[in-house]
Each structure stands twice: as C-alpha cells, then as structure tokens.
C-alpha cells in the first residue's frame, strides 16, 4: 500500500467524495434504467469503502493524511485519527451490506432514484463526520448528514412519513444549534485546532466548562438518542427498512455517539472531563437510557419500533463506556461500537424480509412465520443472542469490557445495569422467536424470487461475521487498542 503524502490525501478525498459523486450520477440516470442504477450505486459504495479502508489502515500504521481548506477565519480540515478511522471503516463497510439488501428490498418500490442518490450522499456525509479534523468540519458534515437523510426518512410520502420527517428535522437542527453555540464558545477559548493535536480545551479553566460539556452532550445527544432527546428515532421508523437498519441503527446515530466521544476525549480530554462535577452525572444518564429504552421496547407491538427502542438502549452502552473515563470502559465502548451493528442490522434485515414476504409488521401477528422463513428466523435468533450479549456472538466481549471498566472506575452499579439490561433484551426477543416457530397458524407468504436472495445474502453474512468475531475477538482488537492507546496514551 502506498503511503506517500499525496496518496494519503487522495485516499481521503476519494473516500469522502465517492458517495457524493455517485449520488449525483444516480440522479442523472433515467428512472427506468434500474440495473444500471444498481450497478453504479454498488460501484460507488464499494469505492467509498475501499478508500475508507485504505485511509483507516494508513492511520493505524501511524500516517494519516490531511486535507485543509481555509474559509475566512475558520479552517475546514479532514484529518483522520484512530477513532475516526474505526468509525469510517464500520460505516463504509456496512453501507455495502445495506446497499445489496436495498437492491432486494426496494425492488418493487417507487422513488428509487432519489433513494439511492441520497443513500450515497449520506455515505459521504457519514465518512465526513468520521474523518473530520476539527470541530467546525465535524459540524459541517453533521448538518449535511441530517439534510442528506431527510429525503430517506420521508420516502414513503405518507402523511405519517411527512410528520416523522418534520420531527426529525426539528430535533436534529435544534441539537445542531446547541452544538454550534458550544463550538463558538470553544473557539473563543481555544480557536479551531485539529483533533490530532491533543485535547482542544487542554489547559483552559473556566467556570463555564461544565455547562459547555452539557451543551455539547445535549446537542450530540439528539442523534445519539439519549433520553429524552430520542423521540425522533421511533418516528423515523416509517422509513424503508434498509434506511432504518443502516442509518438509524448505525450511521446517523453513530454520528451522534462519535460526536460524544469527540467531545469527551478530543475536546475536553480525559483529565479535564474527570475534573468536572457534571461528569459523575453522565454515566447515570446513560444507565437510565439503557434501562428505560429496553423496558419501553418490551411494550411495542410493531417490530421495527421495538427494534428502535432497543437501539436507543444499546447506544447508551457505548456512551456508558465513554463516560466511565477508564481505558477498559472505552475499550468496551469501542468493542460494542464495532460489533453491535452487525447484529442490529441483522435484526432489521429480518424484519424487512418478514415485512416484504408476509406483509406483517406486528409481532402479535407473526406467529408461525418461522415455518415459512426458517433461515430468516435462525438469523433472528442468533442476532437476539447477540443483543443479550451472550457467547458465541461478538457483543459478549463488548459487554465484558464495559463491565470491567465500570468496576475499575468504582462504579459497580453500572455493571449491574448492564447485566439486567441483557436479561431484559433477551426477554424482548426470545418470545418472538419462540412464537415464530411454535405457532399453529402459518401466515401467507410470497414466493421467493431473485430479489429475495439479495436480501438473504447480506443477512447471513452479517451473522457469520458476528459469530466469527465472537469466537476470535482478536480480529477487531487492534482497532479497539488503537483508539484506547490514542486517548489514554
């Protein structure tokens, strides 16, 4: 692999712009050329993934590239560091899975041109968030992500979808407003330096810092679905399933989580954050969201909404690890961040397959589905085990390190919270799986066609990867270690 300075810049720029360029080209393809559009989408999603991998690997090898652009008194810069590399990797890789799945799921639906175009735009925006080098660039791509995902949320064009879209925009723009105020306050203290140069606010002391942290957390917490800022997420489930799976289980919400990681570790830094009294409250907020999210999930009948609340809960696993300010905790958070999406996407993909083949979206009516779609439900069961955090699924390791980190930080109640939530997660979904295989009714099921294979394949691959990484966690460990080394020196 070429690691010259120019090559690195090239990888960075290409990784970022693949999505945008692809989206523009897709918009220009006539509406009826479906195969061409699918091929183009896949090519650009793949190229985005390839260049993100190249960038990430170069970062792990210790040589990230930098692209800067001065605009007035501010500077936009792309400057990936290990956390950004990890996020960029996950996002662009999972995008491929979601793209292939979309080919199958969206096969007979309308509005595909807009869908695929903005799907690709969102990829660019997410990669931009990951590789952003300073706060202002992060904010730029954060806002662009909101805008790029809006047309996907309102895709169904029903009144319900429009209402969900409006809620989505209002919540996210309000959060972004809070972030902007916090960024400007930070700028007045410390300017706009790159994240790679150490914590931005290092050495600053001011009574305002506690409030500043709160403002950042509230701002990023909208996307990271911290309660009570999570209300947009269940509403956004009106979007097509691939959108819900990728964006609202992985990309958009991870942008929020990533933002929180940046704030706590790259802006404040571990020592400064530890000194603020508000930092002791934050883990409790995360713990509350973990429990409340999963309890509310129990009461949902629509499968996607149950998954949405479970997402809310699981995102706070990562945030809990971040807020412990311990290396083990952060390792657990990163482990969770890397392994959880595989299983979450599996669950959503299964929900989508069920919805497309049988037309059922409500759990109470899914009795006996397992007989018609046995492989789907097998994947579902495997993913449920992952949500509960049991071996052989990879999320076990994330939970393990999170618990270790909580205990190490002297915060053992959180280990308890994690254990309890694991049990409740199991309670959420095991009954569904059991119902699916037991029930005496067999719902009507459409014939499986070529498109269905495109939906099955990614699902199966995701499960396989989860099991493999669960048995051999060493595969993902280097990424986790790179991040903890980066922040804890």
């Amino acid at each position: 692999m070429f690691y010259s300075a120019d090559a690195l810049k090239l990888y960075l720029i290409l990784g970022l712009s693949s999505g945008a360029a692809g989206g523009l080209i897709v918009l220009m393809i006539p509406r009826d050329r479906r195969r061409l559009r699918n091929i183009i989408t896949f090519i650009f999603a793949a190229s985005g993934a390839v260049f993100s991998w190249l960038t990430a690997l170069s970062v792990f090898a210790g040589k990230g590239g930098r692209v800067g652009f001065a605009s007035g008194e501010l500077e936009w810069s792309l400057h990936p560091d290990p956390p950004g590399a990890v996020f960029g990797l996950i996002a662009s890789t999972l995008w491929l899975f979601a793209t292939v799945y979309s080919f199958g799921y969206m096969a007979e639906k309308g509005g595909q041109r807009v869908y695929y175009a903005f799907f690709l735009f969102s990829l660019s925006a997410t990669v931009g968030v990951a590789f952003a080098g300073n706060l202002v660039t992060l904010y730029l791509f954060y806002e662009l992500l909101t805008l790029a995902t809006y047309p996907l949320v309102i895709h169904e064009r029903t009144p319900e979808a429009s209402a969900a879209g409006t809620k989505y925009i209002m919540y996210n723009l309000s959060g972004a407003g809070a972030i902007l105020i916090a960024i400007i306050i930070t700028y007045r203290y410390a300017g706009n330096p790159d994240f790679t140069g150490g914590p931005v606010l290092a050495g600053v002391s001011s009574p305002v810092l506690g409030w500043l942290l709160v403002m950042y957390i509230v701002g990023f917490g909208v996307k990271a679905a911290i309660m009570p800022l999570h209300r947009w997420l269940p509403a956004a489930m009106v979007a097509p399933t691939p959108v819900s799976a990728l964006l609202h289980a992985v990309a958009v919400v991870y942008a929020g989580v990533f933002g929180v990681i940046r704030v706590v570790y790259s802006v404040f830094g571990r020592e400064l954050a530890g000194q603020l009294s508000i930092s002791r409250v934050l883990p409790w907020v995360a713990a509350f969201t973990i429990l409340a999210g999963v309890i509310i999930a129990l009461r949902q009948d629509v499968l996607k909404r149950r998954l949405a609340y479970q997402t809310v809960s699981h995102l706070s696993y990562i945030l809990l690890g971040v807020f412990t300010l311990q290396p083990c905790g952060l390792a657990g958070a990163m482990m969770q961040m890397i392994t959880y999406p595989f299983m979450k996407m599996t669950l959503f993909f299964c929900a989508g397959i069920i919805a497309r083949q049988t037309g059922e979206t409500r759990i109470s009516r899914m009795a006996g589905v397992g007989r018609k779609l046995p492989w789907t439900m097998a994947a579902f069961v495997a993913a449920t085990l992952g949500m509960a955090g049991t071996l052989p699924m990879s999320t076990f390791w994330g939970k393990y390190y999170l618990m270790k980190g909580s205990v190490a930080g002297g915060m053992w109640p959180f280990a308890l919270v994690l254990a309890v939530s694991g049990l409740i997660n199991a309670a959420c979904f095991i009954p569904v799986a059991v119902e699916a295989f037991r029930g005496d009714k067999t719902p009507s099921c459409k014939e499986k066609d070529g498109w269905t294979a495109l939906m099955f394949a990614p699902t199966v691959v995701l499960v396989v990867i989860s099991i493999v990484t669960g048995l051999v966690p060493g595969i993902v460990w280097p990424g986790v270690e790179a991040v903890t080394d980066w922040f804890f020196g």
């Binding site: 605009s71 806002e143 662009l144 047309p151 925009i169 209002m170 809070a178 902007l180 400007i184």
Partner: protein, 501 residues
C-alpha cells in the same frame, strides 16, 4: 476624470439612465439592455471603489460634491462600510435586473409601463448607492425620499386594486416615517448647526450634556422613523401586503435591498452622528437588541401559518431584519461585522427566494404552497435555487448565512449576554420550520392532477431568469465558502463605526 469622480458617478449613472429610459419606451430590448448596462457599470464602479479601499488601508477617500468643502458642501465618504453596502447593492440588483428581462411585460402591462418600472428600479438602485456613500444628513433624507417613492411606485406597478391599496398604505406610513426622520434631523441641526455627519457628531459631543432632552428626542424620532421604514418589529405591519402584491423582481429588491438601505442609514445615524457613548447613554443598544429578538421570534412564528408563498417570505424578512438589528445593538466588533455580513447574505438569499418563488408562481398560476406540489420535477433549477437559498437562510455551513450567524453569536457571547445567542439559534430552527415544508412540497410530493387554467399564458423561466438565479446562488456560495475578504471588509467597517468616540 471618471476615476477621480467615481463616487459621484456610481450614484448618478443609475439615476440618469433611469430618468432617460422612458424616451426609448417603445423599444423594449433597448431599454432592457440599458438597464443591464447601467447595473454592470455600477458593479464595476463598486468593485473599483472596493479595491481602492483595500489598497489604502486606514485613510478613507472623502469626496466633496462640486468641490465644496465641508461643512458647506456635501461629502461622500468611501470607507469600508460604504463599499461593503455598495457592493451588496450592485451585486444583488444586477441579477434582479437580469431576471426581469422578457418577463415583465405581461405582468406590468405593456412596453411603456415596463419602461417606467425600470425607471423606478434604477432610481431605487441609485438612491441605495447614495445611501451607502453619503456623509450628509439632509442628503440622506433626500435619498431616503427618492427610495421611498420608487419603492411605492414599484409596489403599485401591477395596477391591480390590491396593489394600489398596499402601495397607498406603504406610502402613507413611509412618508410618516420620513417626516419623523426629517424632524429628527431638524433637532440635530437646531442644536449643532451642522448637517455634515462628522461635524454634527462633534457638535453633539459638546452639547449633549446641556441639552439631553433634545438629543433624546432626536434619537427617538430617527429610530422610529427608520425602524418603520425597515420593518422593525412591531412597526412591520405594512410589509407583508406590500411585498406580496408587488411583482417578484420588485419584491426581491424591496425585501433584499431597500429595507437594508434604510438600516444602513440608521446605522450611520446611530454610530457616526450620535456615537456609541450616546447610544449607551440613552439605552438605544438595549432597545435594538430587544426589538431584534422580538422580531426574530415573532416574524418566524407569524410566517408559519401563511399558505401564500410570498406572504410567508415577507414575514421571513421581518424575522431576518431582527437578526441585523440584534447585531447593531450588540455594539461589538464581531456582532457588527456579523450583522453587516448577514445583511449582505440576506440580500442575496431573499432575492433568490423571491425570484424563484415568482418563477414558480408564473409557471403554475398558483400562489399557495399547498397547490405547488411536485414543482421540483418541472422546474428543477428554480426549485434548486429556492432550496439552496433556504438552506442558506437556515444557516447550514458552506452557505453565507452560517458565516453571518457565526459572527453574530460570537458578538453576543462577547457581550456576556446569553439570551441573544439562544434566540439566534431558535430563530434558525423556526426558519427551518417555515421553509422546509415548502421544500418538501416542491420536491417530495406528487403533483395533483393538472387543472391548469390559462395554460397558454403561463410560461416557465427563460434563459435570463435562470442566469439570474445562478448568479445569486453563486453569490450565496462564494460568501459561504470563501468569505475571507468580505469578512475582513465587514470587520473593518465595524471597527470604524465603533471608533467614533
């Protein structure tokens, strides 16, 4: 000779061409060509003056009309503020003039009336250029009157009864405001004996402690007068009717530039003539900040229920004017620079919004937002211009509104007061609330079954209109992506204003 007298020429050329136009009324192409030529000349002149200001940092070029020195003659100062606003006026009015080509005859009714529209248009542009440059109190009043009458004429140019009613209301209220302004000027003249802004400022500094009531009266009259003209909340009631009854290019220049011209005059009165110390003494800064915050919120809230697209945009102007007044009241270099930058940015954005709205209304014959479903498919460029301008107004980075908001928030944080910051952000969210539905309806809703009456008379935007929209989008993006020189100019202007005692 032109270079030596450039400040005067920048004002006179539009005025002269405007007055001469009705002679050629029958040859519409020639008229349109002359208008564009005059605008281009104005832009070139403004650019050259900007270059001069950049080149000689520190010393302003003080041009004396007719060679008469102050305090007997009228001065035109070419300083950063003047050049900034002059550039904004010329850069935005040129696309608006381009937009009117080929579009105006049916709307206004005939060649002769179109020529008269252009006359009023150019008179307005000349008056705005004068407002940027002038350094004399009564000269300001004269230019304000020229602008007022041109604006009223533009509002009534359609000839419909509703336009006449809106124009009459606007005329009465605007003349009321002008009388307030002239009496304010009268008070200043009575106690200082000067009409030149610099000399009046010195006179006021000497005299205000012995005659505080007169100064207070003068400030109040001037503030209310210019506030009424620039639709500062709660003096904004004339604006929605006036701006929605006018043809779209007229609405564009009214909302985008005319309102801002009066604000620049007020800025000069408050900062140059009275000075920051007197402003603080009489709490003018607090009043501006409070009125600005009220305008931001109330304007946005009133825009939400409007179904008529142009009325919604008119209320949006009321809200955005509040941002600029908020910046004026902050009395801080960053805040003032932000307000000035926001002023220029909003001029381009609002013009783009009104022009694209006008194109959409012309092409479909419908005025309400709910009836314009799916128009993005039929007129992609126009709808894209509307979308880009809306995103600029909301404050997305890479668009000009973001830079303005950045400096406004920095300025309000400098003063230590947190409420303006929150209001600025709340205003952005409300802005999204009233603009996103339009974007959603335009792009993401299917058009209802076509029931076009008068389809033969409706037409889509032509080449000139598309070029105009592209130029405005270019301005928005340039201000958003490479604002460096413009921010430097705005900061210079702010520093100069704050240095006056």
């Amino acid at each position: 000779m032109i270079a030596d007298n450039l400040p005067a020429f920048v004002i006179i050329v539009p005025l002269f061409v405007g007055v001469v136009l009705p002679v050629f009324a029958r040859r519409l192409r020639l008229v349109e060509g002359l208008v564009v030529l005059a605008e281009a000349a104005g832009l070139a002149g403004a650019g050259f003056l900007a270059y001069i200001v950049f080149a000689q940092k520190g010393t302003d070029w003080v041009y004396q009309l007719g060679g008469w020195p102050a305090p007997w003659g009228i001065e035109l100062t070419v300083n950063s503020l003047a050049v900034f606003f002059l550039l904004a006026v010329m850069a935005v009015s040129l696309p608006i003039a381009l937009f009117t080509i080929g579009n105006l005859k049916e709307e206004v009714g005939g060649n002769r009336r179109t020529a008269r529209f252009y006359t009023l248009f150019l008179l307005l542009v000349g008056a705005l250029a004068g407002m940027a440059l002038t350094n004399d109190l009564f000269n300001t009043y004269v230019l304000v009157e020229v602008a007022t009458l041109s604006c009223c004429g533009l509002v009534s140019s359609r000839g419909t009864p509703r336009a006449a009613e809106a124009a009459f209301t606007y005329l009465i209220l605007a003349t009321l405001a002008s009388s307030l302004v002239v009496i304010g000027i009268g008070f200043i003249y009575v106690i200082t004996g000067h009409l030149n802004m610099g000399f009046a400022s010195q006179g006021l500094a000497e005299v205000w402690q012995t005659k505080p009531h007169v100064v207070w009266l003068a400030i109040s009259f001037v503030l209310v007068g210019f506030g009424l003209k620039s639709a500062l909340f709660p003096l904004h009631v004339w604006l929605p009717d006036a701006h929605s009854s006018a043809p779209s290019p007229a609405s564009a220049i009214l909302s985008g530039l005319a309102v801002k011209g009066y604000m620049i005059c007020l800025l000069k009165f408050l900062y140059v003539v009275f000075g920051p110390d007197l402003m603080k003494e009489f709490s003018v800064d607090r009043i501006l900040v409070l009125a600005g915050m009220a305008a931001i919120i109330c304007g946005a809230v009133m825009a939400l229920p409007q179904d008529n697209l142009k009325r919604r945009l008119a209320f949006s102007t009321v809200s955005q004017v509040g941002y600029i007044y908020l910046g004026f009241g902050l009395m801080d270099e960053n805040g003032l620079a932000g307000a000035l930058f926001y002023l220029a940015s909003h001029a381009a954005i609002k013009s783009a919004l009104f022009l694209s709205a006008g194109a959409m209304i012309s092409a479909t014959g419908k005025k309400k937002i709910s009836e314009m479903a799916g128009i993005g498919r039929e007129m992609p460029l126009t709808a894209a211009a509307f979308t880009a301008a809306s995103l600029g107004l909301i404050g997305i980075p890479m668009f000009s509104g973001f830079v303005g908001k950045w400096y406004l928030i920095t300025g309000s944080l400098d003063t230590g007061d947190f409420l303006p910051t929150v209001i600025i952000i709340a205003g952005s969210v409300l802005c999204a609330a009233y603009l996103f539905p339009v974007i959603r309806v335009a792009w993401f809703e299917s058009p209802q079954t076509a029931n076009q009456e008068n389809t033969a008379q409706l037409k889509g935007p032509g080449a000139a209109q598309k070029l105009a929209l592209l130029m405005l989008m270019a301005v928005i993006f340039i201000l958003g992506i490479v604002p460096g020189p413009f921010i430097a100019l705005a900061k210079n202007a702010a520093a100069e204003l704050l240095m006056f005692r």
